[in-house]
Amino acid sequence: MTLPTSAGIRSQVVPVVRVQRKRAWLSERTQSFLLLLPSFIAIAIFVYVFIGMTFWVSISNWRTLKVDMSIRQPPYATYLDMFSQPRFQADLRNTLVFTILFMGLAIAIGLFLAILLDRSIIGRGLFRNVFLFPYALSFVVTGVAWRWIFNPETGINLFFNILGINALLGQLGLEPLKPGWTTDPSVWLQVNKLLATVWPAAGKLQIQLGVPAAMIPVAIAAVWQLSGFVMAMYTGGMATISDEVRQAARIDGATEWQIYRHIVVPMLRPVTISIVVLLLHTSLKIFDLVFTMAGPGPGFATDVPAIFVFEQMFRATRYNLGSAAAIFMLILAGLVIIPYLRRSLREET
């Protein structure tokens, strides 16, 4: 506590500051700007110039190993190609399904665990540490481990034998339970026909709209990895809610459930918004986990835009198509992130 005091005394000697400033070769603000300039230039090149170049490639004719930056006619032709590709349509479906499953489960489980641990519980620290540790792992490690757990020949499926479920099914004359998990090409809850009644164009879609079964194990692995992060965010938020608020509610006769339902969770709204934005952002660009755990999957059942971009660029050398999909990903991410950044900037000023 001595530092602020001495600073307080010094700051009274204002004229000296003025003299110093006059003597400076450049004003401090200019120096500050110049010192930041290298970082700004690096970001300008690595983020903005590169995005510009990717956009250019996306409207160009560059679709083989030979570089061809001439503009394709019409310039949006590659985007039309992209949206008419069944594979890309499947990617959009998969991203939507994955986002809903992953975010719904991760937020529900994370909030539930945070509430369970928001009281005196023996071993609270241990529980929290265990629930959060997957967040410290690489998606590659998660993918490798869960790939074996959901391998149809082993892992989860062994439990159907160990627990006697398959024996029971056999006695009833039914097939043993052996889901294919990430190798299952089926799409559940198909809505094509239903959708075609209100939107005729949906009848012409080349893919089955619904829940690709293979996406479910991938979403479970992602929930395993990130629900602890949701819990930690909520725990951090709950720590900022004063005990008096809850006690006042208790005196008024509120039950624990009502306190969470009507006081704690509404007060955690800013945390919830952060969580939604960050998870949505993770989900839109998910790559490592799907790539290592399932790859594009049977009939592109687990393909996502990030894998599409990667394969078009580095395997198929369809650079314009890969770039168009990358720009599409950027637009999706921007729709999520820009309002969020604007909001936090407004709060700051």
Partner: protein, 288 residues
């Protein structure tokens, strides 16, 4: 229905009854614990089996005898890539943290006109899907002669790490009294001297948080590694682990052991510096 149970609780949060509800929460928490630990059990349990003992039908059985299992093989196969990861992660973490500290200090204590807007423009770089910059980045690194090299990876990790390290340090320095900076200037210290002599030593706690955040992110990266370095011998460990796992001539006890080996550095950081780890994830997210 619960008004009667509410009354005695008023004193202090959570000094209450062992109720059926509490027993239920322990049960649920224990089940959750098993779920979160299950993949680790699978990795360690099967990593410890040797090639003759490992079989898909006995994944949940314990090893029949104690041996190094797949670990010796996994270490041997992944050791060169582990070295690559270390050579990448240490300079990239230090550089991105140091430059982020300088940026954060300047952006919070020496704001020039337009500083806040430039900061937001910079911060956006943290949120872009990196697929959007991959192709030009690879071309640019080829131009610089850094494609396929560890220095190339360090460069991209530093540059793409700057937005978040700058954000974290800017938030930290915003809480440091401006009088300190003014006092130093009165004593004749310039912008940089004030940074190196006063602000940097003050920011050690933030430095630990940011460095752990960066270390974890860079060690765990897959996308940059796989796009910048095509040569398997020069790749970081995450890519080597993926290659190992896709290689069907390798026994899967080695793959499981390899996953543990690749996860070990960040797991150790988490175990021993967990406090800072949690602070980093909150600092890196709540204040976008």
């Amino acid at each position: 229905m619960t008004v009667t149970t509410v009354q005695p609780v008023v004193g202090k949060k959570g000094t209450h009854r062992v109720s059926g509800l509490q027993a239920l929460s322990y049960l649920v928490l224990t089940l959750a614990l098993l779920f979160y630990l299950m993949p680790v059990f699978v990795m360690i349990n099967n990593g410890l089996k040797d090639a003759t003992n490992v079989s898909v039908s006995t994944m949940w059985n314990l090893p029949s005898h104690l041996s190094g299992g797949g670990f010796a093989d996994a270490f041997r196969k992944l050791w060169p890539n582990m070295q690559n990861s270390v050579l990448m992660v240490i300079p990239a973490t230090i550089l991105s943290s140091l430059i982020g500290a300088l940026n954060g200090y300047l952006l919070s204590k020496w704001k020039f006109r337009g500083a806040d807007i430039l900061f937001i423009i910079m911060l956006f770089g943290f949120f872009i899907p990196y697929q959007t910059i991959m192709l030009p980045m690879v071309r640019f690194l080829q131009m610089l002669g850094l494609y396929g090299t560890i220095p190339g990876l360090i460069l991209v990790h530093v540059v793409y790490g700057l937005p978040i390290t700058t954000l974290m340090f800017r938030n930290y320095f915003a809480g440091v009294p401006t009088e300190l900076v003014e006092a130093a200037c009165v004593d004749g210290a310039g912008i940089l001297t004030t940074f190196t002599r006063i602000m940097l030593p003050l920011s050690v706690p933030a430095f630990v948080v940011v460095a752990i955040f960066q270390f974890t992110n860079i060690w765990n990266d897959f996308l940059f590694g796989v796009t910048v370095v095509p040569n398997p011998d020069a790749q970081p460990i995450t890519i080597a682990l993926n290659n190992l796992s896709g290689n069907f001539s390798v026994d899967w006890n080695v793959v499981m052991a390899g996953a543990i080996v690749a996860a070990l550095p960040t797991l150790l950081v988490y175990l021993f510096l967990g406090r800072f780890f949690v602070r980093g994830l909150l600092a890196g997210s709540v204040k976008g």
